[in-house]
């Protein structure tokens, strides 16, 4: 019962790695290889430029380069660096995206659980005729 994982371990997988299955870690992981499967962790994930992940990522924080096809959930933060390609949905408390990324998917970044702004409150008889904001343009 005393097998507490070392929380400050620095795990490294380089671009020569190909992996199939679920990957779990508890400290840090730097991943630059190919993964078909999920990553599950309370730690910090860094994806390198060569990383290709097809699967869902569920971590505390992630710094993303490379290519990801799958959903990314981070308790703390998602950092998407330039030239990263992400096809999938993201959910996190803090999001930063650099110019030059590809991101197709749904974003749910709302740490304070805000609701959509209603700019002209108390305007009587508002019938919502103004072109239906929020109606998705994307299929």
């Amino acid at each position: 019962m005393s097998t507490t994982p070392t929380n400050d371990s620095k795990n490294v997988l380089h671009s020569d790695v190909e992996l199939q299955g679920t990957l779990r870690f508890s400290g840090e992981l730097s991943f630059d290889g190919k993964l078909t499967g999920d990553i599950d962790s309370d730690g910090a994930l860094t994806l390198g430029e060569n990383a290709i992940v097809k699967g869902n990522i569920n971590v505390n924080s992630v710094l993303m380069r490379g290519k990801v096809t799958g959903n990314v959930t981070a308790k703390d933060k998602i950092d998407i660096k330039t030239r990263a390609e992400l096809f999938g949905d993201i959910r996190t408390a803090r999001l930063a995206i650099e110019e030059g990324v590809i991101f197709v998917g749904q974003s749910e970044v709302n740490p304070n659980k805000l609701t959509p702004a209603a700019p002209s409150p108390a305007r009587a008889g508002e019938t919502g005729k103004s072109a239906g904001p929020g109606k998705p343009v994307l299929s």
Binding site: A96, I102, G105, V109, N112, A117, S120, R123, L138
Partner: protein
């Protein structure tokens, strides 16, 4: 037919402005007020910290501060600054998001129309070619 819009105009609407309807412009617009409606332009829109927009934006490029509840389409670039609140879908070839935003909606940022990474080919199938597009020949 010679009513070329003044493309270099710098339009400013401050936080005391409330607007209901569709807003069009051709050059630059800095908007810091409240809008219930749409903004359509090929120009550059700059939303201020006090801006509250309920409606869709279709512009050349836009810097988002304040609050937007609606969809944003930009021909060039969308920049979402820290503390902005965006509820709606976005579509642009270039996107920059600063840390600290709220963004709930769909995102389509794919300038070169890259498609999702194909699943890893099985080992030894390196020579697998991507499916070729068959272009139907017009028949005479």
């Amino acid at each position: 037919m010679s009513t070329t819009p003044n493309v270099n105009s710098k339009n400013v609407l401050n936080s005391d402005v409330e607007l209901n309807g569709t807003l069009k412009f051709a050059g630059d617009l800095t908007f810091d007020g409240k809008l219930d409606g749409e903004i359509n332009s090929d120009g550059v829109l700059n939303l201020g910290d006090n801006a509250v927009v309920r409606g869709n934006l279709a512009v050349g490029s836009v810097i988002v501060r304040g609050k937007v509840n609606g969809n944003i389409t930009a021909r060039e670039k969308i920049e979402v600054k820290a503390k902005a609140e965006l509820f709606g879908d976005i579509r642009a070839p270039k996107l920059v998001i600063e840390e600290g935003v709220a963004f709930v909606g769909k995102c389509e940022v794919n300038p070169n129309k890259v498609s999702a990474t194909a699943p890893l080919p099985p080992r030894g199938a390196e020579s697998a070619k991507p499916a070729e597009h068959v272009i139907p020949q017009p028949r005479k």
